[in-house]
Each structure stands twice: as structure tokens, then as C-alpha cells.
């Protein structure tokens, strides 16, 4: 089964193995980056569907084949669920920040939606529950003006200036990895350390991956 992606008006057919590679890379990027990356829900859904269709064919396969396929499916499922778990952890940590960011983007043409529809609902519910919890357990017992949550003060923003390790996937020229220095040229295969923010766009564009 192929995952058909729309890229610059060309249809790109990916093999199952390539989709798996995409998940692996997104998984590592998500684990290492200080904040949510763009949701790869389609990749996850596609692979889990693949796993399911393989399982449906088990009755026709030899015991040996079933065993090997099961091993592989377990590996893929773990990767997918850990990817989603990592994202959930970040959503819970930065719920308000993520919701605000999504709101600012809504309607924009090039909106990069970090949260999948299900994640958005989860973030909203989690945030709401958390705020109610704070109000019920502490805030409502406090005198004015301390019994309200001020938006600007309650947001836990991620530290986008954390340091990350990244590997270069293709040659890129004039990258401002350090704003105090001149732009550098990055060659494929190099591994660099820098703050996350200067290279965040390169990561979104898939020109580098985190390590």
C-alpha cells in the first residue's frame, strides 16, 4: 500500500519502507526537540493500517512467517505509540502555549498545524481541566485579586533556545546557526550542535534531522 503525498503539485508515491523511515525520523525529532513538531498523524495512521492488513492475512501464512511479521508489527507499533506518547507529554506540558499558537495560525494559508484534530481536542480538554483543578483546589480560597489565573502568567512556554544536536541531510548554504557570527555553509553528513530556534525552519523543511 502506498502513501500518496501532495508535494508541489507532484504526487509522490512512497513505499511502505519509506513511510516507516519517515516515522523513525519524526520519532527521533520529536523526542529530542524542545517543542512539538508538525504532526505526522497520516504517517502513523498509514503504518498502523498496514500492520492491521498484514495481521488479517495471518490465517493464510506459515507459522514462521506469522512469527516474523508479528515481531515487526510489535516494533512498528511501539515506535508509533512512543511517538504519540512523546507528543502527548509535550502537549500536557505546554497545553496553553500550543492552543494559543494554533489559534494564531488558524485561517492562515500556510498554517502549519502542530496538533492533529484529536490532539487539539485533548489539549483543550486537558487545559480546561487543569485550570478548573487549580481554581477548585487553591484559587477560589484566595482573596481578590489573587483568585484569578492571568493568561500571560500561566502559560508555560517551551525553551526554544535549548541546545540540540542535528545532522545535515543535504547541502545548505548561508545558515545563521549563531546570530552573532557570519552565516555558515552546511554539508551533508555533518553533525552540529546549536540552539534550537535558528535551525527550526530547516528542521520543518526536512533539510536536517535531529540526533
Amino acid at each position: 500500500m502506498d502513501l500518496t503525498m501532495d508535494e508541489d503539485e507532484q504526487y509522490e508515491q512512497l513505499t511502505a519502507a519509506q513511510v516507516l523511515g519517515r516515522l523513525e525520523e519524526s520519532w527521533v525529532n520529536e523526542r529530542v526537540s524542545p517543542y512539538l513538531q508538525e504532526s505526522q498523524q497520516e504517517v502513523v495512521d498509514c503504518l498502523l493500517e498496514q500492520c492491521q492488513s498484514v495481521e488479517e492475512n495471518f490465517s493464510r501464512a506459515s507459522p514462521f512467517a506469522v512469527g516474523v511479521h508479528q515481531l515487526e508489527i510489535q516494533r512498528i507499533r511501539y515506535m508509533a505509540t512512543d511517538y504519540l506518547r512523546t507528543r502527548l507529554h509535550k502537549i500536557e506540558k505546554h497545553a496553553e502555549y500550543a492552543l494559543e499558537e494554533q489559534k494564531d495560525q488558524d485561517g492562515g494559508e500556510d498554517a502549519v498545524l502542530k496538533l492533529s484534530p484529536a490532539e487539539f481536542i485533548y489539549a483543550r480538554e486537558f487545559h480546561r481541566n487543569f485550570q478548573n483543578h487549580l481554581k477548585d483546589t487553591a484559587l477560589k480560597h484566595m482573596p481578590n485579586p489573587f483568585n484569578e489565573l492571568k493568561k500571560s502568567e500561566s502559560v508555560t512556554a517551551p525553551n526554544l533556545n535549548s541546545f540540540v544536536f542535528f545532522k545535515v541531510k543535504e547541502d545548505i548554504n548561508d545558515v545563521l546557526v549563531d546570530p552573532r557570527e557570519i552565516p555558515k555553509d552546511l554539508t551533508q553528513g555533518e553533525i552540529h550542535i546549536s540552539k534550537f530556534l535558528p535551525i527550526a525552519t530547516l528542521l520543518d523543511q526536512g533539510k536536517i534531522h535531529l540526533v
Binding site: A16, R75, H192
Partner: protein, 187 residues
Amino acid sequence: SSGINAEYGEPVSILPNFTEDKLYLISGDVGPFQPQVPVDVPLWLAINLRQRQKCRIITPEWLDVDKLKDKKAEEIESNLFTKPLHPHYMEISNIILGNSRDIQNADEVRTLVKDIWDIRAAKLRKSVNKMINHDAGDGQLLAHVEISNITVLEINTMRKFFTASLDHLHNLRNHAEICLRDLDKQS
């Protein structure tokens, strides 16, 4: 492949002792399997088959005593990291050696890999120390460095400490600058 190839996905040659048809796995085609006919399989499958005593593992070409000896000498001589024999040399050699003695000169290979790891670890400690104490002359902290021949496992040994230290240093420096600016404004 140009993407990440996690250690367990690494192709490894095995000698099966059974017969089975080709398998169409999601990660690629594997087999068919015939006794004593070498075939490439992903490492996770090789280990599983080895544990079930259904195959022997063929020594990867880079896990060779002479190659390791040369690499060790190269690593000792150079101040910087040399290009590792394999980007996941430590993990793969440990996985294979931990599950079989099929590798030629298994003990010597194990010792050499460990030696190479230790030499590189010492260099890494020194580098991390230098990077954290880095002062670009005008009191500037380190904000970017290239460190190309390192492996992921080596990064993971110091990742938490290293990134946390740099984050803290930059944080403190930013606060200091803000305070100084405020003082200037007041005077």
C-alpha cells in the same frame, strides 16, 4: 538510505539452517531462506533467529580484528574524533557479541571495540569540558559547534549534562545582560 537507520534495522548477513519462502515485510523483502545460503536480514530478525538457533551470524566486514586494530591506532594518534568504522559500532557489536560467539575472534573483537570506545570517551570528556568553558574572547559563550565524527550513543552519554549546562550558562548570561542594561538605564 538517507534517513535514520536505527541499529536494529541494520542489515546483517546470516547463514540459516532452515528453508522458508521469501517474506514481504513492511520494512522490506527478506529471504527466501535455504540452509547454508547467506542472506541479508535486519539485525532484529537475525538476533531473534540466532536466539532460536535457526542461524549463524556472519561477521560484518567492519567488525574485523585487523580493521579494528588499525582504527584503534588511528584514534590514538588523532586529537579529534576519526570517522567510526560504523555509525553504530558500539551498539551493533554489543548486540551481536551479546547473543552469539559466531564472530571470528570474538573476544579480541570485543576488547578492541571497548578500547576504541574508551579512547573516544576520553576525547569526548575533554571536548565537552572545553566547550562549556569556551570563551570567544569577548566573554561570549559557545552557541554553535561542528562535531561530525561522533556517534549517537556517544552523544547520548553526555547529552543531558551538556545541553543542560549550556542552557543554564546562556540563561545566566541573558539575565546578567538584562540587569546591566537596566542599571545603565537608571544611571
